[in-house]
Subunit: 433 residues, 3 copies
């Protein structure tokens, strides 16, 4: 069904994008979008000026960090931004100063429960500075004067995001959209976040190759929160009119588990399809509540916006120890992890594309034997899965239930029913309503 | 409530009907209906010509089998149709030939997991022939020439079925029907099938004796699948207008368990009543899904037909090892098994007949003591079941809930509430709405 | 939130009211109401004449008992009414006679399973007499002549009940009522019943002190059954128009458990709020069915009356061994038990008073950091409960869900959300709809 090399390609792209110093704004975001555009030439990059009002928010100044480090009393350079961009608190202001250890400690962040990890810390909306450091290294610091140096600046600039729109290539178009969103504002972390844009990129590449797409597709690569708010402030009315389903794509890289987070409504087509896919695609999956949300569904599902956006994830943000630290690295994700998520999302799209309403064309069961759709010997246990699917689809195809409802009712993955439905349409036993 | 001899009478009828060589058509069916008509003189027999179109199907030729057997190389006659009519594959064509063991094996059917059983096999809609044999006997066959002989013929003729219609004998008639269906196309098997027509026959006999039947009753004895399709093709519009509940009566002979199979809708009056009855009548029961269906509910509940037909069974078809073999014989069923099913079905009918809507005639609880409906001493634990039923029925009799809803709500079998309701009507505390 | 001395005050009042010889009518009821009026000067006492018709009932004669006892053959005075008023069967007629032990036994009531307890027995609506006695004492009775003496009389008089109405003291009044009912017809028993009027009294005292009550409150102190029927016969149309929630207050004194009994409907505001409060206020609670009812909800929830009345209790009537005996005494209840029930009921009222509908004033999440409603450092685990409440309330405040629905959805006690809502209103992020 899918190109088995996709996992490998995705991992390769993840490796390339991983080291860029992404933040809410700036060149890290631009470089990321530029690399994605090589794979998706349709990608359009938008820039929104600092200071613009977007709903309750204001686009922040652009942040640029050239270098940053601490020099210990013994002259050792530590917390070196060039070695790991997580060492600098995101949006830190310029500093070049000498501090005692006591003063320095107030500006340091570490994670005691994971002593080797450099935690990910930001101060977007209040001018401040700081360093992240592994707890092990922090405990080795001795008294004395420390030089702290952050060569950063804040300046009027832009918030940058990307958008891809694929129009339906089917003969009969529906003029409804499926919406995908992923974010591009975290520096070097793998499951949360680089897996998100990577899987989204390859989903779009696969979608372009897909024939007979009934729906239009819209995908955005935005900085989390401020980016989705910015995008919504410009587009929400169009989205409210057109979007029938969609997914926020994040934490789609590791191979430890599958997770589902519902939309606020909890019972949209996205929710129904995502749970159906995970039930059949994953051995098990964690089913979270909307109370466990933490990404852009917070905006997409907010009152008055109310888009049908759910999340299919591997291990969810906040639910693994390495989350938001340097240990959420390229070893934490894998070809297989990325591919499993890719497939779950692609199957969800296949379900939505094929979710039509059919009606049986006659009354009572048809005689299947004469059409070669059933064994002619009536004996014990001679029903194949195909035979069962045939009679079950016919039994539920009442011209009202859609195919996803039937698939759920008969406990079969929708994507395995498509060829059965096609065969029944071919035999004039079903018609699309 | 019921004649305790019914079980014995039913078993006796089962013994008589068991050996007939029933099939989709032919004299086995006719003989069965003739015997039933002795008990139910109202039974009308219908015959529909071979070749007639019924929805997607065509009435098959009539099949007649006079004799059949195999002669082994050592001259032994085996698979003798006259000893057990299951030995011949249903609808087998004429054959008189000599075959090597290798050739013969292709025409034999046996059941390895039940080596003493002769399995039940048919080839209704494709001309073919074959023999069923116990697996034990099959394994004893040695090399050599076998004579195979089946003296059968297919000819233009009729499909035969029976119908009984009982009109309401109440003063106020409702002009709605309760529909019962059972099938008469399996040769010598007991739980599936002869228990079905036997229980249906005695249900109808009991119904005729019942006073004040508000509803009309329609019962059909049809060959499975082609028979119900034939019947529906001639009657479905009338049934759709009039039938408010009904049951497909099959597998009602053994005493091992009770089973419930819902209508496609799953929440019709038949479903509600059947589950209510089984909850109180049976210690436990298996609750199947419509996906487990396999009998004429496949037609009655098909889209566009949509009748409210559920099944109350003892051990369900396909759920016991002896199913569709010679071991589903008269030892597998019993007086007690038949009577348990009879009673469950009769209680269901009683529930439907008494399922009226009542309204309490005053406000607040009535003073029951002065009417002798409650003990006048207020002390500990002096409420009888009757007292509780009185106050609970009054508490729920809001003029909207029907009696089955109240019975379910107060967790009491409807049939034990009838006399309480009568008493409350007599005291002018309830009126029928 | 509440005065911690309330428990102590309630227990003191319980001790005072406990010994009065309450019955359906008479001076025991009058004395009880008189004491309550000292705490609640707003209490109005109503008297309804014997013989008046109230729905299906008639107000009984007034019963007065001055003295009662049995003298044993050896001259010992037992079953002395002046020692424990439970010794006399309620509404006993005058008797002054000599009986053999055999004759006496027919007029004695005891409880074998609780040999030290004097059971509570009445014969309200049939003229009779009798004595309650501990089973232990009963077994010690020896043959001989017994003098039985009950100095009681039945006379035309009145049924007495009390009512308190508190009008809303808010600027904007809603003209809807919360209804409270408790009963005052049992002699010396503590959990069932004196805890009921005691807790109701102190709830009303607290309510009077409460500022900005949007709702009107109506509370009645009535004899059980005949009293609530009497009250309803005079007021039910007004109640049906105005009452949006209410509670029957009984069995609110012990500290062994919490219990919930639903209204007949089962899903009224009272039911929703009571379950919400008990879920957060009590560690666990017993959830009963309406089939387990036994107090005045039988009238309030009867068809045609249909008031939204549920019960929050400590250990429910009928569910403890001491129920309706002399062992349901002042040792069985406690400050703590009474206070726990008081608090559960007061919290329910607070929930209803604050159950408004709010709408978020913007689109997408607001920027909380700039308003000091969220930490400005984006790092691991820095969300306080307040922060979570803020974003969750905003996420669900769609202008349609009321606050109790939101509290249930976000799994937080409504009373802890009030100050969060106030803060959000103050910041113009929420408006009341």
């Amino acid at each position: 069904m899918f190109d088995s090399d996709v996992g490998r390609h995705m991992y390769k792209l993840a490796c390339k994008l991983f080291p860029y110093n992404r933040s809410l704004t700036g060149n890290g975001v631009r470089k990321t979008l530029k690399d994605i555009k090589k794979i998706l030439p349709d990608l359009t990059v938008f820039e929104v000026e600092s200071g613009s009002k977007v709903f309750d928010w204001e686009i922040p100044d652009e942040w640029e960090c050239q270098d940053a480090y601490i020099v210990t009393p013994s002259g050792k350079k530590i917390c070196n931004f060039k070695e790991n961009n997580l060492h600098v608190v995101g949006y830190s202001t310029f500093i070049d100063d000498y501090l005692s250890l006591t003063e320095l400690q107030k500006k340091l962040y570490s994670k005691e429960s994971l002593p080797e990890a450099i935690p990910y810390v930001t101060s977007y909306y209040k001018r401040d500075w700081g360093f992240s450091i592994s707890h092990r290294q922090r405990q080795e610091l001795t008294d004395g004067q420390y030089r702290v140096f952050i060569d950063s600046k804040h300046k009027k600039g832009y918030l940058t995001y990307g958008e891809v729109v694929l129009k339906s290539n089917a003969k009969v178009r529906i003029n409804k959209e499926i919406f995908l969103s992923t974010y591009i504002c975290h520096p070097s972390m793998a499951n949360n976040e680089i897996s998100g844009p990577v899987v989204t990129t390859y989903l779009l590449k696969w979608l372009k190759s897909l024939k007979n797409r009934r729906f239009d597709y819209r995908a955005v690569f935005v900085p989390e929160t401020i980016g989705s708010i910015t995008y919504l402030s410009k587009n929400y009315q169009k989205l409210k009119e057109n979007v029938i389903a969609g997914f926020n794509i994040t934490c789609v890289g590791d191979d430890n588990s599958y997770s589902f987070l519902p939309s606020r409504d909890g019972n949209t087509l996205s929710d129904i399809v995502a749970k159906h896919v995970l039930k059949h695609h994953a051995k098990t999956f964690e089913e979270y509540s909307f109370l466990d949300r933490g990404s852009d569904e917070r905006q997409y599902c907010s009152p008055g916006i109310d888009l049908p956006i759910a999340s299919i994830m591997r291990t969810k943000y906040g639910e693994y120890e390495q989350y938001h630290t340097s240990l959420d690295n390229l070893d934490f994700i894998s070809d297989k992890g990325l591919y499993g998520a890719f497939k779950a999302l692609a199957l969800s799209i296949i379900c939505i594309e094929n979710n039509k309403v059919y009606k049986y064309t006659n009354l009572c069961e048809p005689q299947l034997g004469k059409r070669g759709l059933r064994s002619t010997i009536g004996a014990i246990n001679n029903m194949t899965q195909f035979n069962k699917d045939v009679i079950n689809i016919l039994a539920y195809a009442d011209g009202e239930k859609d195919l996803i409802s039937i698939a759920i009712e008969i406990e079969r993955p929708l994507w395995e029913l498509i060829q059965v439905v096609d065969k029944l349409v071919e035999h004039n036993l079903l018609i699309e309503v």
